[in-house]
């Protein structure tokens, strides 16, 4: 495929195309709808691989750029580009979307609407990670909100309406401040521009006070999404109430949008502010890690526990970010990717269990390992990855984040190491309650994980293992981009 | 010659009387009449100003003519509405017309 072909736009608009196709399929042809969506997400995945084939690993700057004038009056462009960091996210999105689409078989009602929203969500996420224009970024960012509202609200659990509107308003409240921050950047730059790359070049001209204010405004938007304590309370509700495939995307991709925003916008454009707030972010990060783990420990609902564990794990991303060093950044970026994979898989597994037992109370299970050996093995595998077992990918991110954090903030990192211990605690308690112990006769008839369900987790399993053993694979792609960000920042950092 | 201020005070008094009427009349027609009084206060203002401040142009006087015309039209519309109200409510007391409260 030639390089001039707008590959990135293809990745963004394929799902939209899929929606248009779905419009013409009658809603009672459910099988056709499912297959079509599956094909669309699969092709998107393929496209993301083709993007990689055309991607030059050694070039740290955004590649395959596409630029079209969109709203010339205010210098807004349709501007896409991909670098190592965004590629990792694009691949994650494409992969998780495909797997979630396969896992969406558990959705039984209003199927056509479901897939329409699903594909819209995919397009939004893709666009967010590819946009190089702040306006475009914001547009895609907001686009993800609406389908997510419906996906949680219609197909969610018992408290779906509450969870959906909470998610929606919370994120919206954050992102409107982000919009103000973006506008402030626009008006302060000369010439006025929304172009992330140009703004990065201009970063040295922004006064510290200005940077700080804008940083805070952007922080609201991103922190809600990550989520950073104390903006995290939407997460347990949304994750728990969302249907399984949506929880996967929520935890796997949507949370990353916040962290990605820090990487792509806050840090390069506002380096001094990033430096100024580094300590505060580190403090919040450690609260995330420890506090999230604490709360996860107190959960009896399996899914809720995984949800809070996300809070804890995303803390490592923030810690790595706060470290402002290559090691910390790599850790954060790796943790972003790995958390997406691991937690995605965890949600899939919780879904497998819930589909069979219709409960998620961990105390209600017990001894499942006897008649679900494969499921148990997979669950134990991902649990171990989640608690940061070396050799699996979860470790690398946490390890590098902590190492980076340790360089910058000793005491804080020491405290966050406590989080690792607690994580081991709640994960093991979960394994014990669900899989080990005497068998609960009630679940004798529970069937083993099906082939289709296995298909959804095995790719993730392979990734976790491969990246755990050989993280260079991912780091070589991500690091050049991170180094560029750091170098750009380095010019203004003390 | 009567100074401008006298006209203006008269106009202000008329305006206040009209306003008072608007506030205190129960009957819609009473309010309508009060409004007309206010309108006349305005007219006095215009004519007085036209005479004292801009004697060369006729703008003030013309304005008053228009105002009188419009007032007639608006009274017609108002009365028509009041008639409709009376049809529906069998009253023209405005305090009894409150179907749409909060």
């Amino acid at each position: 495929m030639s390089l001039n072909f707008p590959l990135l736009s293809l990745a963004v608009f394929l799902p939209i195309l899929g929606i248009l196709v779905l419009f013409f399929i009658p809603k009672n042809k459910t099988a056709l709808i499912r297959v079509t969506s599956g094909i669309v997400t699969f092709i998107t995945l393929i496209v993301s691989l083709i993007i990689f084939a055309n991607f030059n690993i050694n070039d740290p700057s955004p590649q395959l750029q596409e630029r079209l004038s969109w709203i010339p009056q205010v210098n807004i462009n349709y501007h896409l580009g991909v670098d190592g960091l965004s590629y990792s996210m694009v691949f994650l999105t494409a992969l998780l979307c495909f797997l979630a689409c396969v896992a969406s078989n558990s959705i039984k009602e209003r199927i056509k609407e479901y897939y329409i929203f699903f594909l819209l969500l995919e397009a939004g996420m893709m666009g967010t990670f590819l946009a190089l224009d702040l306006f475009l970024f914001y547009v895609f960012w907001e686009i993800t909100l609406v389908p997510m509202y419906f996906l949680i609200g219609i197909w969610g659990g018992p408290r779906k309406e509450y969870a959906a509107i909470k998610f929606f308003l919370y994120t919206l409240a954050g992102s409107v401040f982000m919009l103000l921050g973006i506008l402030a950047l626009y008006f302060t730059s000369t010439p006025h521009t929304f172009n992330i790359l140009e703004l990065t070049q201009q970063s040295k001209f922004f006064a510290l006070a200005f940077q700080n204010i804008v940083f805070l405004a952007l922080f609201f938007g991103f922190a809600v999404k990550v989520p950073v304590f104390p903006f995290h309370t939407w997460l347990p509700d949304a994750h728990v109430e969302a249907p399984t495939p949506i929880s996967v995307l929520l935890a796997g991709v949507l949370l990353k949008m916040g962290a990605y925003g820090f990487f792509r916008i806050s840090y390069p454009i506002l380096p001094q502010a990033a430096n100024y707030f580094a300590f505060a972010i580190a403090v919040l990060a450690v609260i995330n890690i420890v506090y999230g783990a604490f709360v996860a420990m107190a959960q009896t609902d399996f899914k809720k526990m995984v949800a809070y564990s996300s809070v804890s794990h995303m803390g490592f991303v923030m810690l790595g970010l706060a470290a402002l060093s290559p090691v910390g950044f790599s850790g954060a970026a790796m943790q972003m990717f790995n958390h997406g994979v691991i937690t995605g898989a965890m949600f899939l597994l919780v879904g497998v269990l819930y589909d069979r037992a219709h409960t998620r109370e961990m105390g209600a299970f017990g001894g499942l390992r006897v008649n679900l050996p494969v499921f148990s093995a997979v669950l134990i595998f991902f649990s171990m990855a989640s608690l940061g077992l070396p050799g699996l990918s979860g470790f690398i991110g946490e390890f590098l984040s902590l190492l980076g954090g340790f360089k910058a903030f000793k005491v804080i990192t020491v405290i966050s190491v406590v989080g690792i211990v607690i994580t081991a605690g709640y994960i093991l308690i979960m394994i014990q309650k669900v899989l080990l112990g005497p068998m609960n006769d009630k679940w004798k008839g529970l069937s083993e994980i099906s082939f289709r369900e296995l298909v959804t987790v095995v790719p993730l399993l392979v990734i976790v293992l491969v990246l755990g053993v050989y993280p260079k694979l991912a780091l070589d792609i991500i690091n050049p981009a991170l180094n560029l960000i750091l170098n750009n920042m380095g010019a203004v950092l003390p | 010659m009567i100074p401008l201020s006298h006209y203006l005070i008269l106009s202000a008094i008329l305006f206040s009387i009209g306003l008072y009427g608007v506030f205190t009349r129960r009957s819609a027609i009473g309010i309508l009449l009060s409004l007309e009084i206010m309108l006349n206060a305005v007219n006095i203002n215009f004519v007085a100003f036209a005479k004292f401040m801009a004697p060369h142009s006729l703008a003030g006087q013309i304005f008053v003519i228009f105002t009188i015309g419009v007032a007639a039209a608006s009274t017609v519309v108002g009365l028509a509405i009041i008639v409709a109200i009376y049809h529906n409510y069998k009253t023209i007391f405005v305090d009894e017309i409150d179907v749409m409260k909060w």
């Binding site: 969109w70 547009v139 506008l183 008006f187 | 819609a28 228009f66």
Partner: protein
């Protein structure tokens, strides 16, 4: 100045006035009242055609009473558009009997011409006449629903407030006239600058004039009439009220403040800012608790006026551009939302939000469209509403009105809540057993699709609209 030449400039207005009279006459000839609507639409279209041929350069008409400038042209085109859409959505509105249709169309056409006159008003007298013209028609339209308690009550309220406000405005005008000795806006500006009167008097005068206009745009604290009138009036008329007079209110406010008293403006822009915030807050907070969709849209339209006011507060060309971009997008999406409301109430005879339950199951396309309009009203990209909000926020930030920007974004979050509440009812609540499938009529469909396409088009590719609005405001009025 040749009178005939001037008349040429107001051709479209003349067409519409003649058409409005013809409609009344044709009522006796046509059995099918639909034809009346088609005739009205036809006349609107021809007016539009004439307008499109109009020149973009600025002219002073009728000894400065009217001005024909790009802004006026822009407003006139929008007025015709609004009226056309309102007629489209009223064709199949069943609450209005066939016997009353000709009056409806005639009145709408007249108000269209009134709005068009007001678009170019450059003289206090002309402003007064234009506002009275629109107001009188509005009073009739509000009270128009024969035998309906709410409608006549709405009419009475509207009438009494409206008249009180216009008299206040008139009193203010008289004082200004007394101070400046002129009614012409540009001369007035000059005279106000050179006068020796106490500024307090001038403030009070300007304020009193502004009251009449603030009443039209339903700015807090002059908004009390709005919900009652919106609820009481027939729905197409409500749709008209929510956009038409509001647009012109803003336009005249702009002309009056900018052209007439620009020099005093800086003294009270923060006051206007506070009023803008109050308008947003009151509108949004009150809308939160509403259970009737018409009333909800009424309060939300108050809130939207608050956002739009920001464009006026910042007092730069960019601000005015954002004001009119905002109003254009608001007009499109609000009309769309009302079109759906009419479609639903045609079938269910209800405007209660709870009766929208399960709409997505029965009529998915209608629900989807209403959702899109509401999402657009909430200001979420990539729909038209976002472009409007984006411009408003950016104009506020650009001029350093950070408090306005923050207030506006917070309010947009509150607004999102009640808009999504409707969406929640449509999509998330189970349908009641009595729910029926709703099939909008072709005319309604046309209006819906038109609005939808515009909402999408402006959202996805706002360049032409922005160009157009910018061009309209490129030349300040002569």
């Amino acid at each position: 100045m040749d009178l005939l030449l001037d008349l040429k400039f107001i051709q479209p207005e003349i067409i519409l006035i003649i058409a409005s009279i013809l409609v009344l006459m044709l009522d006796f000839m046509f059995k099918s009242k639909r034809l009346l609507a088609y005739f009205s639409l036809f006349s609107l279209c021809s007016a539009l055609l004439v307008l499109f041929r109009g020149s973009l350069s600025a002219h002073s008409l009728f000894s400065g009473m009217l001005v024909s400038d790009p802004l006026a042209l822009f407003l006139r085109i929008l007025s015709v558009f609004i009226t056309a859409v309102v007629i489209l959505i009223s064709i199949d509105y069943q609450e209005i009997g066939p016997g009353m249709r000709s009056e409806l169309y005639s009145l709408l056409l007249m108000s269209a011409s009134a709005m068009m006159f007001l678009s170019g008003a450059n003289n206090l007298l002309m402003i007064y006449l234009g506002i009275e013209f629109i107001s009188l028609i509005s009073y009739i339209l509000a009270a128009y629903w024969k035998g309906n308690l709410k409608s006549s009550e709405a009419g009475l309220k509207y009438f009494l407030f409206g008249t009180a406000c216009s008299i206040t405005m008139l009193y203010g005008m008289s004082i200004i006239y007394g101070i400046t000795g002129t009614l012409d806006l540009p001369q007035m500006n000059q005279a106000l600058f050179n006068n020796q009167f106490s500024p307090v008097v001038i403030f009070i005068a300007i304020l009193m004039v502004s009251v009449g206009l603030a009443f039209k745009v339903a700015m807090v604290p002059f908004h009390f009439w709005c919900p009652d009138v919106y609820e009481g009036a027939p729905t197409p008329v409500t749709a008209f009220f929510s956009v038409g007079p509001k647009l012109l209110g803003f336009a005249v406010l702009l002309r009056f403040l900018l052209g007439g008293s620009a020099l005093f403006y800086q003294h009270w822009m923060h006051l206007l800012g506070i009023l803008a915030i109050a308008t947003m807050v009151v509108g949004n907070l009150t809308a939160l608790a509403q259970t009737n969709i018409k009333r909800l849209l009424a309060y939300s339209s108050i809130a939207h006026a608050g956002y739009a006011l920001i464009g006026l507060v910042v007092n730069t060309t960019a601000g005015y551009v954002s004001l009119f971009i905002y109003l254009s997008t608001y007009i499109v999406m609000n009309l769309g939302a009302f079109a759906v409301v009419i479609a639903v109430s045609n079938q269910t005879k209800s405007d209660e939000i709870k009766d929208y339950a399960g709409l997505s199951a029965n009529s998915p396309y209608l629900a989807a469209m209403l959702s899109l309009f509401l999402i657009s009203l909430a200001g979420i990209p990539p729909l038209a509403g976002f472009i409007g909000k984006f411009y408003i926020f950016s104009s506020a930030l650009k001029e350093g009105f950070i408090y306005l920007a923050i207030a506006a974004v917070l309010n947009s979050v509150i607004a999102a809540y009640y808009y999504f509440n409707i969406i929640r009812v449509m999509y998330l609540s189970p349908a009641s057993s009595s729910a029926v499938k709703i099939k909008p009529s072709p005319a309604l469909n046309l209006a819906l699709v038109l609005s939808l396409l515009l909402v999408l088009a402006i959202g996805l590719y706002p360049k032409p609209v922005i160009d157009w609005v910018s061009a309209a405001l490129a030349f300040p009025s002569p």
